[in-house]
């Protein structure tokens, strides 16, 4: 799959001033619950934009509106200069959507799946045939092209799932948590592909709740929680939000909920949250306050097994901004 970028000739150059995706003020509510509240961002050609947030933060709802899968209560989406609505189909020709689910027909072959979606994208027969062949080569499925996809391994299905989105040479690729439930090898391959596609000039919108993926892939990241973008920028810009604060990661056992609560009440602690096997803290001058931290944890019937002062990262930024861990 490493050759994907070399075949993408239809994408605008990165010097094109107009953003490939421009969405503003996106809002969506389900009854009284606001799933997305005023989300907006731009993505230029050759840029990878990450939406980083925990499950339920509003990532999928946002990209569903961006791809025209979901009607929005407010806001606008413009793709390649064309406004996108669920009823208008023009702008969709520029989008390649990779859903989190393996959205392929299990009882059709890889080639038949590609042909079917090629027709839905309005491609000419000759183009579908030629492009399907290319995609099958790129995804390493050429020798399995005529096999039903229910005979494929999970990784092969995942590759085809991505390949379908590239069939019509989109200028914007939207990937919805494409590495969830994927083995490390396939995950690495997917991340490599996304880097290659972006390098070839494609605009990429990538949602994830894995901080490592966002840090590796994304030129800019929007940190999203409870339907709002809490902060946006390059990794460096986001980490700067932390200022002089450190991210301390404690591995601990015992009453972690009580310990995190006790730590949060300390004046020196900016944020404290617990996870399954420990507690994450944001605070200034971490080394000076460590004794007080350890004593507080011990008083809360918990025991610290190791202490790590982590280099400032997006996880810490998220913690600082939302008071929650990304894994929550």
């Amino acid at each position: 799959m490493t050759a994907i970028a070399q075949t993408e000739s239809g994408v605008p150059s990165s010097t094109d001033a107009r953003p490939i995706l421009d969405c503003r003020g996106l809002e969506k509510s389900y009854g009284d619950r606001r799933a997305v509240a005023g989300v907006g961002f731009e993505i230029a050609a050759g840029e990878t934009y990450g939406l980083l947030g925990p499950n339920g933060a509003g990532k999928t709802t946002t990209i569903s509106m961006v791809c025209g899968l979901l009607s929005r209560d407010a806001g606008e989406v413009v793709v390649n200069g064309k406004p996108l609505t669920p009823s208008s189909t023009d702008a969709k020709t520029a989008i390649g959507y990779v859903p989190q689910d393996l959205a392929i027909y299990p009882d059709l072959t890889a080639k038949e799946n590609l042909t079917f979606f090629g027709r839905l994208y309005g491609m000419a027969r000759v183009d579908i045939r030629q492009r399907s062949k290319e995609i099958l080569e790129i995804t390493g499925l050429a020798d399995r092209a005529d096999e039903r996809t229910d005979e494929f391994s999970g990784g092969m299905k995942r590759r085809l799932n991505i390949g379908i989105a590239l069939l019509h040479r989109p200028s914007l690729l939207v990937l919805d948590e494409p590495t969830v439930g994927v083995d490390p090898q396939s995950r690495n391959a997917i991340l490599g592909n996304v880097e290659a596609l972006s390098g070839a000039g494609m605009a990429v919108l990538y949602t994830t709740h894995y901080m490592e993926e966002a840090e590796r892939l994304c030129d800019r990241v929007g940190i999203i929680d409870e339907g709002e973008i809490k902060a946006e920028g390059t990794r460096r810009e986001l980490v700067a939000i932390l200022g002089e604060h450190d991210h301390v990661s404690l591995d601990a056992t015992g009453d972690l909920t009580g310990a995190a609560r006790a730590l949060a009440s300390l004046e020196t602690i900016a944020e404290a949250t617990h996870r399954e096997s420990g507690i994450d803290l944001i605070l200034a001058n971490a080394s000076r306050h460590l004794p007080q931290i350890l004593e507080t944890v011990a008083q809360a019937d918990a025991e610290v097994t190791s202490v790590n002062v982590v280099e400032p990262d997006l996880e810490a930024v998220f913690l600082k901004l939302t008071g929650k861990a990304l894994r929550d």
């Binding site: 791809c67 025209g68 899968l69 979901l70 009607s71 669920p86 009823s87 189909t89 023009d90 969709k92 020709t93 989008i95 959507y97 859903p99 989190q100 689910d101 393996l102 959205a103 392929i104 027909y105 299990p106 009882d107 059709l108 038949e112 079917f116 979606f117 027709r119 839905l120 994208y121 309005g122 039903r148 379908i164």
Partner: protein
Amino acid sequence: MNRALSIATVNATRLARDRVGLFFLFVLPIVLILLLGVSFGGGFEPTLGVVSTGSGPLASELVDALAYEDVIEIDRLDGAKQLIDAVERGGVDAGIVVPAGYDRQLRSGERTEIEFIEPAGTTTAAIRTTVEAIVVDQAARVRAARFASERGAGDFGEAIQTAGLVQDQSPGIEVVVMEEGESTFEGLGQFDLGAASQLVLFMFVNSLAATVALIQTRRLGVSRRMLSTPTSARTIVAGEALGRFVVAMGQGVFIIFAASLLFGVDWGDPLAASALVMAFALVSTGAAMFFGAVLSNEQQAGALTPLSLGLAALGGCMVPLEVFSPTMQTIAHITPHAWAVEGFTEIIRTNAGLAEIALQLVVLLGFAVILLAIASGRLRKSITS
């Protein structure tokens, strides 16, 4: 339109891959039409097992008389035990045992008995009546012969021959059966009714069975992926409906042609028959789309087969509507099946045209419009929310 056709084509392709589905779609209906036609479609002659251990002419005459009757078929068996086995296993419908001393007892004026054996819990009145008539006929001649021989008019052998001649020449008493009103099944071929009811039953059953494919398409996220392409929700719904309609129509047309060619079923006015198939295919499509839109997994769809068989039974696909009580006939018409069966019955029995089945067509189209409207709304909602 091209996109809707692509979606419909994919549905047909997926169906063609499903060998079990193809069996239910094309093979089973024809097999059932054959079985129903052979079992209940007329031309049925009950079989009477006969055990006659007597070797005299009276016993032979009795058996020959039974064999001469064209309303029953005779199967000669060796012994009473074999006969009872045959009756119990359904090899024969009933049986008689003519005793070994039959001739001797009759000649000597003794009382004799012919044992009539029938399966428990079933009525074989027609066979028994035929047997009794022949036995009574012979008994009359035996009595006349013995009366004559006792009065010195020759021996019994001569007397019974004379009695036979007299009986043949004498004017008899005949019961004449008068049929009043219209016969319910008059003019129908052996396979006609079965073919029509199986057509309706299987078009609906298979349409609902194909609901699984639509649920899977939704559950896997393929429908939403279609929406991410330049394809509107309306086109997706139209394509899914078109695929199911084409399959239902294809099955209906296949059954009509196959039943006509293989079993000589006369479907009546082609225009009226085509209109009925089309209207019922639309109803089946609407029902399939509705359940495909509202059910959330393939396991739930498993309940649709009993439901569709229940509706078929209520709608007169298993037992003719005429057999139902008036109340049940009214209730049956809550199902589209009853209207379709009624329409087919009209065109097959009376060669009715479009005008005569207009009511049935309008009601079926009403069912179709309501089901398709609800299904389209639900499916669009499930894709776009």
